[in-house]
C-alpha cells in the first residue's frame, strides 16, 4: 500500500501545507511518495526530500508545468497513480483545482477537506459550512482526497528521501496570462500562529491599518470577513470562512466581525478566540474564549499600546 502526495509549491519553495498532508499520509499508514510538478523546481524537490516519512520524491520538471495548470498536471498524476492506493493533495486552491480532475479521470470519487483519518478507507470531513462532521467510507479502489491542512501538524524535516525524475511532459490546454499576488511581509494566513481579522465595522480600507499594526506587533497575519472583502477593504485572498481560507491559529482576534456561520466555518478550530465587538448580541461572543464589548476604534489602539 502506497500513498502519493501532490506537493504544493511556487517553483521556488515548498508550501508548509505539503508537510501537513504528509502527516495525514502517516496517519493512513504506508509508503509515502511526494510528487513535485513544476518548472525549475529543483530546490522544491530537495525540500520535499527532507520531509520526515517520505520514501521517494517524484520530480516532473518541465516548462509546460510552470504555471501549475490543472489540465496537464491531472494527466501526469493519472499516469503515475496506478502504483498508489491513496492520492492526496492539500485542500488549497491548487489542490481543489487539480484533484477532482484526477479523480474523474481515474473514475473514482473524491473526498474533500479531510480532517481526520479513521482507517485507510474511512475519513471524517466537514459539511454544511463545518456545522456537521460526516464520517465517510470510500468504496473505491483508489482513495483520492484533499486534506484540510489546519487539521494536521506538519512533519519534521529530518528525512532523506530518494529522488526519482519523471520524464513525462504534457502540454497544457489553457494558457497562463498573469498572476497578481498580494504582497505581504506578514506570515501566510493559513499557517500563521496569530490571526487578526476585521469585518465590516472597520468601515474602510484605511482603518484596516490598525489591524495590520496589531498583527505586526503579534507577528501574525491579517484576515477578513466576507463583508470586509466585498466592501473592498482588503483583497479576497484574506477572506476567512467557508469559501475562503480555513485557519486554526493559536490566537484568533476577531475585530468588528459579527460571526456569521460562514465565517465561523473558517476559524472555529482556533485554540484561543478573542472577539472585540460593540454589539453584545453578536454571535461571535458565543464561541469566543474572551469577549470584549467595546468600540474597536478605542479598544484596538489601547490593545496596541498595552502589548
Amino acid at each position: 500500500m502506497a500513498i502519493l502526495i501532490l506537493a504544493e509549491h511556487d517553483n521556488a519553495s515548498l508550501k508548509l501545507d505539503t508537510a501537513k498532508v504528509v502527516a495525514c499520509g502517516q496517519a493512513i499508514g504506508g509508503d509515502i511518495d511526494v510528487l513535485v510538478v513544476g518548472h525549475n523546481c529543483d530546490g522544491v524537490a530537495s525540500e520535499a526530500q527532507q520531509l520526515t516519512g517520505v520514501r521517494n520524491v517524484l520530480l516532473a520538471d518541465s516548462a509546460s508545468y510552470a504555471n501549475h495548470l490543472a489540465e496537464n498536471i491531472s494527466e501526469l498524476v493519472l499516469g503515475v497513480a496506478s502504483d498508489y492506493e491513496h492520492v492526496l493533495a492539500p485542500a488549497s486552491s491548487f489542490g481543489k483545482d487539480v484533484l477532482p480532475r484526477v479523480a474523474a479521470l481515474l473514475d473514482v470519487s473524491q473526498l474533500s477537506e479531510v480532517v481526520e483519518v479513521v482507517s485507510s478507507d474511512t475519513f471524517v470531513r466537514p459539511i454544511y459550512a463545518g456545522s456537521v462532521l460526516a464520517t465517510v467510507q470510500s468504496l473505491d479502489d483508489k482513495k483520492v482526497m484533499t486534506v484540510r491542512s489546519s487539521a494536521f501538524d506538519a512533519v519534521a524535516t529530518d528525512g532523506n528521501a530518494e529522488r526519482v525524475p519523471l520524464a513525462q511532459d504534457m502540454a497544457a490546454q489553457s494558457e497562463f496570462v498573469e498572476q497578481s499576488l498580494t504582497e505581504s511581509e506578514r506570515p501566510e494566513l493559513g499557517s500563521a500562529s496569530v490571526v487578526v481579522s476585521g469585518g465590516r465595522a472597520l468601515g474602510n480600507s484605511e482603518n484596516f491599518g490598525i489591524l495590520e499594526q496589531l498583527a505586526d506587533k503579534l507577528g501574525g497575519a491579517v484576515g477578513a470577513s466576507r463583508a470586509a472583502v466585498d466592501a473592498g477593504f482588503v483583497p479576497n485572498d484574506l477572506q476567512v470562512g467557508q469559501t475562503g481560507k480555513i485557519v486554526a491559529p493559536d490566537l484568533y482576534i476577531a475585530v468588528g466581525i459579527s460571526g456569521a456561520i460562514q465565517h465561523l466555518a473558517g476559524m472555529k478550530d482556533s485554540k484561543v478566540i478573542v472577539a472585540i465587538n460593540k454589539d453584545p448580541e453578536a454571535p461571535i461572543f458565543q464561541i469566543a474564549d474572551y469577549g470584549l464589548e467595546a468600540d474597536l476604534f478605542e479598544a484596538v489602539p489601547e490593545l496596541l499600546a498595552k502589548l
Binding site: 474523474a104 459550512a129 479576497n236 485572498d237 484561543v272 478573542v274 470584549l292
Partner: protein, 249 residues
C-alpha cells in the same frame, strides 16, 4: 453561443441544520430549501452574457427529485431560456452528477458550462472540475471575472495568494466564485413568465449513466462545541487574561 448552467437545490444558507437522532443523516423535514448561492451567481453570469449579445441561449439543468423543478423555475425567472430536470431519487455524488451533465452536454452541445464552485451542503467543490475532465475540456475554476471572445475565454481566478488570469480555449467549464457578480432578484412578472418557459424532464435511466455510490456515510455528528468563554471588562483585563490564563502572548 449556448451556455449550460447546472443548478443544485440545497438547504438554505441561513438554516441551522439538524441531524437525525440516530446520526444516519441530516434532517430535511420542514427545512427551507433554496438554490445554491454559487449557482445563482452562475446563472446571473450566463444571463449577463446573453444580455451582452454573446450567449444565444441559456439552459439550466438540475439533477434530483421533482422538487428541484422549483429551483429551475428560479433560474428561469432570472433569465434562463429553458430548463432540464434529470429526474432521480438517487443520492448523487459529484462524480455521478458530472457523468449526467456530460450526457446533457452531448445532447445540447453548449460551448460553455458555467457552474458554482461548490454546493453549500456537501462543500465538495468537485463537479465542475470532474465534468471538465470527463469532457476533456479546459477549466477555469473559482472565477471572479470572465471575458468571452469568439473562440477564447479569459478567466480571472481567485487563488490562495491573490488572483490569476488564464486564457481558455472554448469549449470550457467555468466555476464561479462569490465575487463574479451580484445576482439580481427575479421580479414578479418574470416569475410569472418563468412558469410558461419550457422545462423538460428526463428520467435518469434514459441517460444510461453509472451513478452508483462510491462513498457511504457511516454517521453524522456535530463538531465539539467550544466551551463558553468569558466577557472581560476592558482591554487591560483582556491582555492579562491572554498573558496569564491563555498564555498566547
Amino acid at each position: 453561443m449556448k451556455i449550460l448552467v447546472p443548478i443544485k437545490r440545497v438547504v438554505d444558507h441561513n438554516v441551522k441544520v439538524r441531524i437525525k437522532s440516530d446520526g444516519s443523516g441530516v434532517d430535511f423535514n420542514n427545512v427551507k430549501m433554496s438554490i445554491n448561492p454559487f449557482d445563482e451567481i452562475a446563472i446571473e453570469e450566463a444571463v449577463r452574457l446573453k444580455e451582452a449579445g454573446i450567449a444565444t441561449e441559456v439552459i439550466a439543468v438540475s439533477c434530483g427529485a421533482k422538487a428541484c423543478q422549483e429551483t429551475l423555475r428560479t433560474a428561469l425567472a432570472v433569465g434562463a431560456d429553458r430548463a432540464i430536470q434529470v429526474n432521480t431519487d438517487a443520492d448523487l455524488e459529484p462524480l455521478g452528477v458530472a457523468k449526467i451533465l456530460k450526457q446533457i452536454v452531448k445532447r445540447e452541445a453548449p460551448q460553455l458550462v458555467i457552474c458554482g464552485k461548490q454546493a453549500i451542503d456537501d462543500d465538495c467543490n468537485q463537479t465542475g472540475q470532474m465534468l471538465s475532465a470527463l469532457l476533456g475540456w479546459s477549466q477555469g475554476t473559482f472565477a471572479s471575472e470572465l471575458k468571452v471572445d469568439a473562440n477564447e475565454l479569459s478567466v480571472t481566478r481567485e487563488i490562495d495568494g491573490g488572483l490569476e488570469t488564464l486564457m481558455l480555449a472554448l469549449p470550457a467549464v467555468v466555476s464561479c466564485d462569490l465575487r463574479l457578480n451580484q445576482p439580481r432578484y427575479a421580479s414578479l412578472p418574470n416569475i410569472m413568465k418563468a412558469k410558461r418557459k419550457p422545462l423538460e424532464v428526463i428520467e435518469l435511466n434514459e441517460l444510461n449513466v453509472d451513478v452508483k455510490q462510491r462513498v457511504t456515510a457511516i454517521n453524522y455528528t456535530f463538531p465539539a462545541t467550544r466551551s463558553a468563554g468569558v466577557m472581560v471588562e476592558d482591554v487591560a483585563e483582556l491582555v492579562s487574561k491572554l498573558r496569564e490564563e491563555a498564555r498566547v502572548l
